[in-house]
Amino acid sequence: MSEGRVDAPSSQLPELGPPCGWDPGQQRGARTRGSGVRGRAVPQGRGRVGEAGKGWAWAGPSPTAALHPGFGSPAPALGVLVPDAASSGPGCREPACPAGPAPFPRASSLFLMLLPPGPSLLAPLNFTGTSCRGHLRPQPFWFNYRHVANTLSVYRSVKRLGIPDSHIVLMLADDMACNPRNPKPATVFSHKNMELNVYGDDVEVDYRSYEVTVENFLRVLTGRVPPSTPRSKRLLSDDRSNILIYMTGHGGNGFLKFQDSEEITNVELADAFEQMWQKRRYHEMLFIIDTCQGASMYERFYSPNVMALASSQVGEDSLSHQPDLAIGVHLMDRYTFYVLEFLEEIHPASQANMNDLFQVCPKSLCVSTPGHRTDLFQRNPQNVLITDFFGSVRKVEITTERVALNHLKCQKDEELTEPLNYAEQLPVAQIIHQKPKQKEWHPPGGFILGLWALILMVFFKTYGIKHMKYVF
């Protein structure tokens, strides 16, 4: 199974009204794709502010700064956006206009997780809560519990580091928490000490059970989804998005199984990444796969700015970990178990870099030999922070200087103050090609009241009040 996560900044804004001065065309033209340039352009020495709750000031110029205010908690962000002179690099002269519709926080990373191996039955699943209601659930392969736990633990980590569900595409083929075989319903544990319930309280699964197919996965990656696809099921990334893809499942040399019937090959995956690159759907990508012979999955990659990790070399099996007698299955795979252990130590201000991630799970622990590939990546892994992919952290500069905003007149202010006309959201009449039905005439309320009063008066006049008992 695979889960992938992609973290993507988003070009989600248009409907919400772009911040003034925001001009996609201009930006696109202005920015070169060489991310290195942008990276270098960022002044160093800024403080990092971790989770957004910390205060008024976040939104900073990380490499992808201008386009990604983070998402920790959007509320303060809406109010105060600190215009940062440095960030007004090419095309970035849009310090948000406090008056206008606030720019929606944009994703710096969008997250795609996949878990494909699968069940043989199909039935609706409801993942919105943690209670398992209803009886007709699909019964997935119970022994794949560990793959679900793998995925959910990575999901948990990225969420903990500040990436919201809106930037995560989570694909789970099996619903282990609600499996009737689960002796501890509504939980998925990653450790046999039962301390960490990775299912948590709010899991938002975007693709589930039989929706998790190779086709859907590739469509999500490449953006070729049907127009009816809701936003939560799309990978809304652009050329400033850092994407993390995590996959796990049963695989072999050059393929990873999806459900019980199909598989994705390393060539298909490499081509999909190339297509993403050509369509400017990512800036940098981190690909992690935990499966047998995982290294075979990244050996065909040829697109730039991709860094890849795998749990095992070609010819090796990835092994499971944490056998639990009460639940009756292995709870996790070794590689992801140690990755999770590593990620639990990461906090938004951590300076841990990719080299540290490469050291996770040495052969003495993993039994298999984890591999990584960095030749396509342009930065030195030592300079790539874990939080560049796993978290939503941006550089923030706190300034004590007063900034005068007067000269930054919004050119479109006048237009924006005009009343806006909204299109009808659901034009039913057009859809069904009918004219709205004419309202039938209805007598006014007073008339009816009067009529009833008349009837009662006639009634009492006729029978008198003392005959009421015969009536009732």
Binding site: P119, S120, C132, H135, L136, R137, Q139, P140, F141, W142, F143, C178, N179, P180, R181, N182, P183, P185, P323, D324, L325, A326, G328, V329, H330
Partner: protein, 686 residues
């Protein structure tokens, strides 16, 4: 498609050589040693590369062989070669077959068992069953109630099952046997099955597992009933069930099981009268039958052989074995412990002994426990029997219960029916098995012999064909009446043997009352004695019929040769078919009948042939198997005991056919016995 000189032979077109027999022969010869090939289709998932290679070999050999045969020169050369080498080939093939079979217990041909089903995986279960004492108190209550009511205490069972939280139903059934069963002392049987369903708390009722305990007057299985109730109470308190679990107590052992299964699947195939079931629980995925008659056990014996030699999926047995090892229980197969050192000679011989016992039991085609009837409905099932011997170390009900808990917990994890592992196998021990691809060559070698013999006879019957000088001449000069096979004289013997077989099948049961009236015997004895009488009478009946019918002057030997050719092909066909679904039966019959059949001819030491032929007749094989069986169990029989056992086995065989649909009796009486009579006919051909 054909290569070689097939198309170029000038003789072929003009003379119109019938080529179909050659096609048939070649196919027979080629297919014979590769019988496992056809079987690989039964195990689609396990089709190995070797089979594919065999396929290729076959496909390339066929046109080659046809080219050889249809070219007259080569055909002659081949025919000469065949005649010269026939006897040594047959001997070598027979020896190879027998040696191959005996070698099955030795290490290169056996593999270690392993669980193939991922969904069951390992024995990762935390067994928490502690209700052993509870089970014993239930068992004591059961015995008391049983004594009070005289038969199965239905009301008490229902009450108790309901009190532990099951949905309880009962089913009554009745059956009049075709003739009194003296072994179990029953004739008109009526009884009641009680079952309780534990509904899976968080899953739909689409699949179920069955725990079944047979309880009949002879074997109460009180402790098993107690353990069943105690397990039901424990299982009820767990929340992880994804399949319903049916706890079933049947009366009159297999009859009750048959009645319940037929009603559950809403079929009636054996004329059982039973009330309909009011509660069901979805498709049964697996079943475990339990037989315990003592408060403690020293070992658990597992029985796998089912009706008509069907076997459950090997994974179920592997699961049982895995939990045996986990709980450190002593587990036996065919009553034999595992030898500690498998690789040694002693270990292998021990394995051979166990394997022979399994072959004999499987060949009998009887269900060796209630599980045997489940297999017909494609429900994988095994029977566990508690053995209480004189060993020092005993296990209590808790240990047995934990084993069952573990097995059910793992079966609960299944998503599909058990299908990953083998359905056709032989077991030299619980931890080793022989797969179908490895044991089928044994019978392939044996069936090679009738093929070769038939080929030889065919060549002899067409002997003009291989006179070396002429090319076209013989085909033109010799008419059809001299060459080839005359079929008319064969009609009478074939018809008479088949009619005798039909009589053997029908008369004993139909004529039991008549026989009981005219002779001082009971019905059951009448059936057996009629059976024997018809069987023996068959030997005397048909010899000289052909003289009346056949008038055409042919070669002096052509008559019996044609009959033998027909009989050989008939025998090979039957044995081939039988060995497909019941290897053990096929092999036992082949190893005895084939050499005698190959040797039989109306000249030479006829008395010797006659004795040999009688010794390998199906009845004699049955008698011999009984002696061998007891010998292997280290409880040898005296002759008188053996004869009594033989009579009992005959009656049981007929009963099994009528009660459960066992196929051994019709197979022998309608198929192999007539075929054997044909050889008898050949022997006394004049």
């Amino acid at each position: 498609m054909y290569v070689g000189n097939y198309g170029k032979d000038p003789g072929l077109g003009r003379a119109g050589v019938r080529s179909w027999p050659y096609h048939l022969l070649v196919l027979c010869v080629l297919l014979n040693p590769f019988t496992p090939l056809s079987l690989t289709f039964l195990k689609m998932r396990r089709m190995d590369l070797i089979s594919f290679q065999r396929c290729h070999v076959l496909c390339s050999l066929y046109p080659l062989a046809m080219g050889l045969l249809l070219d007259s020169h080569r055909r002659r050369a081949l025919a000469r070669l065949l005649l010269r080498l026939n006897t040594p080939l047959c001997v070598v093939s027979y020896v190879a077959g027998v040696v191959w079979f005996l070698a099955l217990a030795f290490s290169p041909l056996t593999q270690n068992t392993y669980i193939s089903e991922n969904a069951m995986g390992s024995t990762m279960v935390e067994e928490q069953f502690e209700g052993g004492e509870h089970a014993l108190s239930y068992a004591r209550d059961f015995i008391a109630q049983r004594r009070k009511t005289g038969n199965l205490p239905v009301a008490w069972l229902e009450r108790t099952m309901r009190s532990v939280g099951l949905e309880v139903y009962s089913q009554s059934f009745s059956r009049t046997l075709p003739f009194p069963d003296e072994t179990h002392e029953r004739y008109m049987v009526s009884g009641t099955n009680v079952y309780g369903i534990l509904r899976a708390p968080r899953a739909a009722s689409t699949e179920s597992l069955v725990l079944i305990v047979p309880s009949s007057p002879g074997t109460l299985n009180a402790q098993a009933v107690g353990l069943l109730l105690s397990l039901a109470a424990y299982f009820r308190s767990q929340i992880y069930w994804a399949k319903d679990i049916i706890f079933l107590v049947t009366e009159h052992d297999l009859l009750g099981t048959e009645a319940w299964l037929e009603a559950y699947h809403d079929v009636n195939i054996t004329g059982m009268q039973s009330s309909a079931l009011r509660g069901r629980a979805g498709a049964i995925q697996a079943a475990v039958a339990l037989e315990l008659n003592s408060d403690v056990v020293t070992s658990l014996d597992v029985a796998v052989e089912g009706l008509n030699g069907q076997l459950p999926n090997l994974d179920l047995l592997n699961l049982f074995h895995a939990f045996c090892q986990k709980e450190a229980l002593l587990c036996t197969l065919q009553g034999k412990l595992q030898h500690s050192d498998w690789a040694s000679l002693g270990g292998s011989l021990h394995g051979l002994q166990t394997l022979m016992l399994m072959v004999l039991r499987q060949a009998s085609g009887r269900p060796h426990g209630p599980h045997g009837l489940f297999l017909r409905y494609h429900v994988e099932a095994i029977t566990l029997r508690g053995i209480n011997s004189f060993r020092q170390y005993k296990y209590d009900m808790t240990a047995v219960g934990k084993t069952l808990e573990g097995m059910f917990r793992k079966l609960n994890n299944l998503l599909e029916r058990l299908h990953q592992s083998y359905f056709f196998y032989l077991l030299p021990s619980l931890s080793r098995f022989v797969s179908i691809g490895l044991y089928m060559p044994a019978i392939g070698f044996l069936l090679f012999i009738p093929g070769l013999k038939a080929l030889e006879l065919w060549v002899k019957l067409n002997k003009v064909d291989f006179s070396p000088e002429e090319q076209l001449g013989p085909l033109q000069l010799v008419g059809q009446d001299v060459r080839g096979v005359a079929l008319t004289p064969l009609v009478a013997p074939v018809l008479i043997s088949q009619a005798t077989g039909l009589a053997l099948y029908l008369l004993p049961v139909m004529g039991q009352h008549v026989a009981a009236q005219h002779f001082p015997v009971a019905e059951a004895e009448a059936v057996v004695l009629t059976l024997l009488a018809i069987y023996v009478a068959g030997l005397a009946l048909p010899h000289s019929t052909h003289r009346v019918v056949s008038s055409t002057p042919r070669g002096p030997d052509s008559g019996w040769m044609a009959l033998k050719l027909l009989a050989l092909l008939y025998l090979a066909l039957q044995l081939g078919c039988i060995s497909l679904f019941n290897f053990s039966l096929g092999f036992l019959l082949a190893v005895t009948m084939v050499p005698a059949a190959a040797l039989t001819q109306p000249s030479g030491p006829r008395l010797l042939y006659a004795v040999l032929l009688v010794l390998v007749s199906p009845g004699a094989t049955l008698l011999g198997s009984l002696f061998l069986w007891r010998e292997l169990q280290e409880a040898p029989l005296t002759l008188a005991e053996g004869w009594q056992l033989f009579l009992g086995a005959l009656a049981q065989g007929v009963l099994d056919h009528h009660l459960y649909g066992a196929l051994l009796f019709p197979l022998l009486s309608l198929g192999l016995y007539p075929c054997w009579l044909l050889f008898w006919n050949v022997l006394f051909w004049k």
